[in-house]
Symmetry: C2
Subunit: 454 residues, 2 copies
Amino acid sequence: MSDTIKYLLPETEIPKDWYNIVADLPEPPPPVLHPGTHEPVGPDDLAPLFPMSLIMQEVSTERYLEIPGPVREIYRQWRPSPLYRARRLEKVLDTPAKIFYKYEGVSPTGSHKPNTAVAQAFYNKEAGVKRIATETGAGQWGCSLAFAGAIFGISVEVYMVKVSFQQKPYRKAMMESFGASCIASPSDSTEFGKSYLAKNPDSTGSLGIAISEAVEVAATNDDVKYALGSVLNHVLMHQTIVGIEALKQMEMAGEYPDVVVGCTGGGSNFAGLVFPFIGEQLRGGSKIRALAVEPAACPSLTRGKYAYDFGDTGNMTPLTKMHTLGSTFVPPGFHAGGLRYHGMAPLISHLKELNLIEASAYHQNACFEAGVTFGRAEGILPAPEANHAVKGAIEEALRCKREGKSETILFNLCGHGHFDMQAYSEYFSGKLEDRNYDEQELAMALAGLPSVAV
Amino acid sequence: MSDTIKYLLPETEIPKDWYNIVADLPEPPPPVLHPGTHEPVGPDDLAPLFPMSLIMQEVSTERYLEIPGPVREIYRQWRPSPLYRARRLEKVLDTPAKIFYKYEGVSPTGSHKPNTAVAQAFYNKEAGVKRIATETGAGQWGCSLAFAGAIFGISVEVYMVKVSFQQKPYRKAMMESFGASCIASPSDSTEFGKSYLAKNPDSTGSLGIAISEAVEVAATNDDVKYALGSVLNHVLMHQTIVGIEALKQMEMAGEYPDVVVGCTGGGSNFAGLVFPFIGEQLRGGSKIRALAVEPAACPSLTRGKYAYDFGDTGNMTPLTKMHTLGSTFVPPGFHAGGLRYHGMAPLISHLKELNLIEASAYHQNACFEAGVTFGRAEGILPAPEANHAVKGAIEEALRCKREGKSETILFNLCGHGHFDMQAYSEYFSGKLEDRNYDEQELAMALAGLPSVAV
C-alpha cells in the first residue's frame, strides 16, 4: 500500500524570521491613503488602532523580520506543522501528479490564524495593551485571537458577522471558553452598529460591517487596540512561517512545486504559503504557478476592480488599492464565511497586477464535493474555506492526468472542518445552494467606489 | 516565559509492537464464559463476530504482538502523537508538581480511537470482510471506524445511542463524510431493536442496547463482522501504542511519572497509556500510581460489583468478569457519552482486584470546570470524556501543592472537544446538571446479574 507520507521538521527548524515579500518586488505596492485627505498615511495615523511595533512591520521594506522568542515558544505547541504527500488521494484521482499539502489544522484552534494571533497579542502585550477589539467571519480568527489573549492575559472582544454567529454557535462557545466575549454584528454596542441597524434592522451582517464596529471601539477608547486577521501586510507576513517551513519540507521530500494553491478571502493563508516560493522565484529561483482560489459568490480577484477602496462598510479605515467588489457589496450567504470579504489583500492584488499569481473561482457545491473526495482519501475533513484550495489542487491534478504530466502540486489545507459539519450535512442532503451575487448590486457597489486621483 | 514544552518522537520511533499486559500479570484474568453453558469460550465461539486474527490477539499471552506494516504506515499520518509538559497550567495552579499530558486529539477523528480502528479494519480486510457493524456512544468510535473503513474500502454501519445521535448530529455528518451509515439506536433495523422499542418506545438508548443491535447484525449475516471500540483485550492492546510512546517521551523529558491518570468508560484510553507503565513495574521497574477517573453518574469501578455479566443489554455477548453496574442499568444522561457504559474492561477490572490501579469518580460540572482551566492555560479544549482525566490530574497537582511535593503527573488527553461545544455552552450558561443515578435502579440491576457458579 502506497500510503500518505508525512514530512515533519524538528522543532529546531521553526523559522527564526518572517519573510517580507515587499523587499523582493520589482515595484513597490501603491501607498495607503488617508480617507479624508487622500494623502499617503504615516505611522502616526494608524497609532490609535495598532501598537507601533506592528505599524512598523506594516510599512517595513526589510526582507526578514525576526520572530520574537516568546512567540516562537508558543508556536512550538503545534509548529512546525506537518506537510503531507497525499498518495491516497493521488491514487483515487489516478493522476500522475504528485500532490502535497501543508496542514495548518493542527493548531489549537484548527487553522492558520494563530500564527498571526499569537504575534499580534505579543506586540500588544509589549505595548501595555489590556483590551483588543476585532471582527470575525466564520469564527476562526475570533477563536484564535481569544486563544492568544488567554495566553497573554489580554481581554478580547469579538464582533462576529451575525449570519455566522447564528449558524456557528460553537465558535462563540470556543471564544468564551478562552475567556473572550463574542457579539453578533451589527450590534447596538457601537454607534455604527446602531445606525446600520436603524436602516437595516434585518441585516445579517458582513465582514465590512463588523470591521467598522471593532475599529470604532478601538478608535474611541484609549485603552483598546484593534486587530485584523487578514488583509494587512503584517498579517500576511506573520503567515509566511507556513511557506518557509514548506520550502524546507519540500526539500526533505526531494521535490519542488510546479503549482502552489491556496484559497483566498482576505488572502492571508494563500500569501503565507505562496510568498516564500514567489520570493525564491523573484531572487532567481525556480518559477512556480501561484493559484488563488476564491468563491464564485464573492470573486474579488476574478471579478473585482483594482482600485482604491475602504476596508470596511462604515468607511472608517484608510483607503488601499486592491481588487474590490466595493465596500457596500454584501455577498450572498455561503458556508465559507471566512472568504466573504469584498476586497483582497493589497499585496496580493499588487502581485496579481504584476502577473505573479493566477486566480480562479468555484461555487460551493463543487468545493464540498472536492472536500469529501479529499476527506475519504486522506481522513481529514477540510473547512469550507480550505475546500476551495482542495478543489483548485484537484483540478490541477486532473489537468496533469489529461496532459500526462507528472507535475508537483502543493496546497495549503489551512483548517479542518470540525466546526462546519452543518455545511457537510446540508451538502449530503442536497440542500446546499450555489448562490450567485446580484450583478446589478455589484455594478452599483463598483460605481460607488471612492474617486481617488492616483 | 516558561512555556509549554512539546516532546515529539521521530517517525522511526513509532512502536513496532503492541504490548500485552497479560504476559506480565501475577495471575491470569478469569476466563470468558459462554452465555448458555457457562463454560469457557473457545476461539470458534467468537468466529461469527470477529476475524480469527483478532480472536487470537484476544486470547494471546505473548508479551509483544507485531504491528503490521500497513497499519504502521497509516499510523504515520498522526503518530507518534505529541507529549506535552503543561507548564502554563502548572503556573495557573501554582503547583510544584510537573504535569505532562499525552495528546491523542491529533488523530484524523480527534481521539485515540483510530489506533484500534485502523488495526481492526486491517485484520478484517485481510480476512476478506466487506462490511462491519458497530455501535458508538458519543460518536468518537463510529467516526474512527468510518475513517478506517474508508481507507480499507470496507462498508461500515454504526448504531449510535439515540440520545447522542440527537445531541451530536455533526458526528453523524462526519461518519457519512467518510462514507459510513449511522443509525439511531434502538432502531427498527434489528429484531432486538424492534422488540426493545415495542417495550420502551421512548427509549433514548444506551451502549448496551446499541451493542446488541450491532452484534445481532453480525451474528445473523455471514458477510458482516462486528467491531468494538473498547472493553476487549485486543482493543486495549492496540491502544498501548500510546503508553509505549509516552515511556520514550518521558525519557526524552528526563522524568518518570509518579502518577498516571486516564478517564474510564470501557477503559481503552486509560489502559493504552497506563498498561505499559504498569508492565515496567511488574517487571521490576519503578512503581507508579495508576488512577482511573470515571463519571459519578456511571461509576462501574467505584460502585459496581466485580462479577460475571453480559456486555450488552440483549444478553447476546459472552459473559465476562468485570466491575459492572448490571447490564440492565441505564445511566442518566450526561455529556461524556463515551463513558456511559455499565461495565469496565475485564482486564482493567482484574488489575483493580490485584490492587494495581486506583479509581475515583466526579460529576460533570467539576470536570468541565477543570477542562476550562486547562483550555485557557494550554489552548486545547478537551472532550467531555477527557475532562475527567484533566480533573483527576488537577486534583493530584493540588494535592502536591498542599503536601509541598514535586511529583510528576502524566495524563491522557484522549481527545479534543470540537464536537462537544454544546456541552461547553451549557456549562457556561449554568444549564449543566449533575445527575445521580437511581440507587434503587442500580440495586435492581445488580440483583439481576446472571448467577454463575465460579
